[in-house]
Symmetry: none
Subunit: 426 residues, 2 copies
């Protein structure tokens, strides 16, 4: 069973956004042993979409398509499917009810033009969308009807169409397309992957520590990539036998973990904040935050974690000096003598936050995010982080490189990592 992926949208061929759906889908297909042969992207042009669909159906057994399911004139996937299959578009009452229910949930009636999203080629099945208004479509297409010889068995291509919005597409894939593919697939070659997520060392330093595992041609293979300060060590294990491939994956992942130690904070979808949330829950401790340059980013990251309300008490965004004094009790003379971005201020912020909130741990961030505000003595990217516990307060100085967004992101992540390491080794 061979797959290919087709994405449509003027914004893609105009280069206004990059297509991340095709890579995401390819990785998911690799996990279930379905090789992907090709990605194709075309714009909002009916002939181009139909042409690309025909070519894909001629080459592959499964075609996953994204985009063009919206309610407007430039959403051409439904007419393209009608032309491909030679079947008219007909209204699917169940789909229409789902779209109406979706709008009802938002407290407004369905605009009449959204009804077109319930039009599917005759014989195709709608795929439920719980995260947006556009239902997906599953159609079994007969490949190359013109080329089929009389008496030759008909080759059916399974076409799954999903919305282009990544959030809706990924949710629909997991809920509906993956189960359908599992039903179609023969026992295939298995490709299993595991990401070990690291923070606190650079990609090349990590590469040095696991160099022998990263040599080309090994199975499992090991590679690294970095995204916003988080380094992912990706282990990929291939084989015809799922159990053996899984055992080899576990062994390689364990070796990476033992070589890298505490800088590995989690696997796959784990984030620094989910790691901190897990440790807080396990130790039944509470935390509060005091932020300056990050402006609430640390609190926002922590509160990404469902259920964190049992452990996260409060956050203070003390953006101005008046707020640092009034809300955290930072002494005016500390601010005057050392400045807002200084070790004593970070310490006073963390200690004041802990005392006033009553939390077990408090973490503070004060720094210069840029682009302005830097000096020779205190350059852009300089950040002090305080960590106050019942044992006292430690302050950590970091010099980050990058723009405003990067400095803020790395500062908030470093604060999470300080919390994590303290919770790990009290």
């Amino acid at each position: 069973m061979i797959a290919e992926i087709l994405s449509t949208g003027a914004e893609l061929v105009l280069g206004q956004i990059a297509d991340t759906n095709s890579a995401w889908l390819s990785a998911r297909l690799a996990e279930i042993g379905v090789p992907v042969r090709r990605h194709t992207t075309v714009g909002d042009d009916l002939a181009d979409i139909v042409g690309a669909l025909r070519e894909a159906c001629a080459r592959s057994d499964v075609v996953l398509m994204t985009g063009g399911l919206g309610p407007t004139e430039d959403d051409l996937t439904r007419p393209a499917l009608a032309e491909l299959t030679g079947r008219p578009l007909v209204l699917n009452p169940a789909s229409l009810e789902q779209i109406k229910a979706r709008f009802a949930k938002m407290g407004r009636p369905m605009p009449p033009e959204n009804a077109v999203q319930a039009m599917h080629p005759e014989g195709a099945e709608p795929i439920e969308n719980h995260w947006g208004t556009a239902p997906g479509i599953h159609a079994a297409v007969i490949a190359d009807p013109k080329n089929a010889l009389p008496g030759e068995p008909v080759r059916k291509v399974h076409l799954f169409v999903m919305p282009g919005v990544p959030r809706e597409m990924t949710a629909m894939y997991d809920a509906s397309v993956l189960p359908a593919l599992r039903g179609l697939a023969p026992a295939g070659r298995v490709i299993l992957t595991r990401a070990l997520n690291c923070f606190g060392l650079g990609e090349s330093q990590i590469g040095l520590k696991i160099k022998h595992l990263m040599a080309r041609g090994r199975n499992p293979s090991v590679g690294t990539n970095v995204h916003e300060g988080v380094i992912r060590v990706k282990v990929t294990s291939q084989g015809d036998d799922r159990e053996r491939a899984a055992a080899a994956l576990e062994a390689a992942a364990a070796e990476v973990r033992s070589l890298l130690g505490d800088i590995v904070f989690g696997e796959d979808a784990d984030t620094l904040e989910t790691a901190v949330g897990r440790l807080l829950a396990a130790s039944k401790q509470t935390v509060a935050t005091a932020e300056s340059c990050t402006g609430g980013l640390l609190g926002a990251l922590l509160t990404n974690v469902p259920g964190i309300s049992a452990h996260y008490l409060e956050g203070i965004v003390s953006y101005g000096n008046a707020a640092k004094m009034r809300l955290l009790g930072v002494p005016e003379e500390t601010l005057r003598a050392h400045g807002a971005v200084s070790e004593p201020t970070a310490q006073a912020m963390a200690v004041g936050c802990r005392e006033r909130s009553g939390a077990d741990l408090a973490v503070s961030i004060t720094g210069i995010a840029g682009p302005g505000g830097g000096s020779a003595e205190k350059p852009v990217g300089l950040v002090y982080l305080g960590l106050a516990t019942s044992a006292g307060c430690t302050v950590h100085r970091r010099q980050f490189v990058g723009d405003r967004d990067q400095v803020r992101d790395r500062a908030a992540k470093t604060a999470l990592d300080l919390l994590r390491l303290r919770l790990l080794r009290p």
Copy 2:
């Protein structure tokens, strides 16, 4: 002149990395008026690469290809070009010298296996790479030689091959490919785009208001897309004359603005927070925030904006009830009688935040982000937002749909939008 883009690499069809090169190149081509018809990605398979190259040459006048130029066995672009052109690979001495010089610069001799990177199809020109070892290749390919009728003018397709590493590819494009394309293009067709960014109405409601502008075949064309609650109305103007295309773009953008009114908050890279920052600066006012379910997200968004420190005083993340009482003065009886997620609590949070911070405006958010914590009376997604000014306090009730991330994101953006509209119409 029509272009298309071809990328190769096992890591792309395995989904290990997303192809960002194609979007980058498409945006650059749009700038010089060359429309891109298709993106294609294939793995490290000679037949697939040759097939994709043949199809691209049959459809388009310019093909930009990335990847497969490394020195190893799985780098198949050079053999594919040899097969496509029917010419043998020959060693280019100048290319070999550049590769050796590149290694010399790194302080080591060229490994013998890198010499293969200097092999190009006979008649093709190498493209210098100042940022890596792989030279690019420029070849003029005769399209459809088998289909050409005797006496018919030969259609030449220009093929530019660049490394897959984005840093090397972008530098090579700017230094060598762009000048070559400018030389090839007839007085270039211009494509200009403008995004008008909207908040507060759904994509289909917006589509209804500007339906006549979105009809197919118009120039300028108008389309919509939605990302995380923000609807972008994209106007694209094409023409042979830059000034006329620009004037048509301005006129169409002005018509969209007049039809949509205040829901348009900015253009292109503008965000709700930059719009709020601009209005705060213009009116010289200050703001403070009081957040519950968003956990600091609103503060983090506001402090994305450089220079906001002159206007953003402080934020309170009152995640627990104790924090709501102590930090914002929400009366215990309000919480007891109405609950933390209620109109009176949102009002007390905003008013308390404004009074204590001394800010001109204060905005509060309290809601149920989910996945847990909902009830029949107060379902997941229910959010109250308070806006306190010198004129009093208004509270807004919203029922958002979606998961935890979406509810939090929409709540923070709605708070920004309430601030924006108040600053716009004091």
